[in-house]
């Protein structure tokens, strides 16, 4: 049963969360965060195994791959901006990644 309502339920929760965020624009009320936590709570309360939910939302997960392909559009649109500063962007990203990596490594 839950198999068939998983996707509509996810959509419903997401749009409700979006509405909530538009009313309370606080980063803590990030629509994705709110939706994930409310769905987790729902699954736990109703004792629905994650496998059921996963099977029910196969449609959404399957769209993830084409969505990543579609990210080429913003990449192309930003090309000029990126190209002009490519050297600086790469260099600062490299340095920051190293620093973050060492931070995380030594904190552990």
């Amino acid at each position: 049963m839950f198999l068939y309502i998983a996707t509509p339920l996810t959509l419903l929760f997401f749009f409700l969360a979006k509405k909530l965020y538009s009313m309370v624009p606080n980063p803590l009320f990030n629509p994705v965060l709110v939706t994930i936590f409310s769905l987790i709570a729902l699954l736990l309360i109703l004792a629905i195994p994650y496998q059921d939910y996963q099977q029910g939302t196969n449609v959404i997960t399957a769209l993830l791959e084409p969505a990543i392909v579609a990210l080429a559009v913003p990449l192309y649109l930003q090309l000029k901006v990126i190209k002009a500063r490519l050297k600086y962007i790469l260099l600062s990203c490299l340095v920051s990644v190293m620093v973050a990596f060492f931070c995380a490594f030594y904190v552990m």
Binding site: L39, I40, Y76, A104, V107
Partner: protein, 156 residues
């Protein structure tokens, strides 16, 4: 009639050109509305076909070389290359691209709910996870910003 009007609503939100057009022209006739709906649906179909074509080609390449490189990333790079070379026109795919970007976050929700499987792991190491996530994110943001500012200042 219900379905197209729903799509019209979606599309008018995501394409700024369309909205501008509407405000400039004042109230639109049902014919115009219908025409723009059909145009948007066609644009969506064209964009989706292009995206799925690239994804399919990428998957074929990946399976041919038996590589573990994600097919979606390869597809994105190929589409980017095609856009840069002018094989694919931006106007063919821009509408779909904008629509997908708008609802991209929605696609990550089922994956996020998968956290439920790692409850024990998270409760066992929550302090480390929270600390490393927050701290390293802050450090990264700080470093990227300052490095970039310093580098560009140095030049000018």
């Amino acid at each position: 009639m219900k379905e197209p009007s729903k799509k019209q609503h979606l599309s008018s939100n995501s394409s700024p050109n369309n909205a501008e057009h509407k405000t400039a022209e004042g109230p639109i006739t049902p014919q115009q509305k219908m025409a723009s709906t059909i145009k948007n649906i066609l644009q969506l179909c064209v964009g989706l076909s292009i995206i799925f074509l690239f994804l399919a080609i990428a998957k074929l390449i990946i399976s041919y070389f038996e590589s573990t490189f994600p097919a979606s990333i390869l597809g994105m790079l190929m589409l980017f290359l095609a856009l840069s070379l002018g094989v694919i026109k931006l106007s063919w795919i821009q509408f779909t691209g904008n629509l997908v970007l708008k609802y991209l976050a929605l696609l990550f929700i089922p994956v996020g709910v998968g956290l439920i499987n790692y409850f024990e792991l998270i409760t066992a190491h929550w302090l480390v996870i929270v600390f490393s996530l927050f701290f390293t994110t802050l450090v990264t943001l700080f470093m990227v910003g300052h490095c970039y500012q310093w580098l560009t200042k140095e030049k000018s």
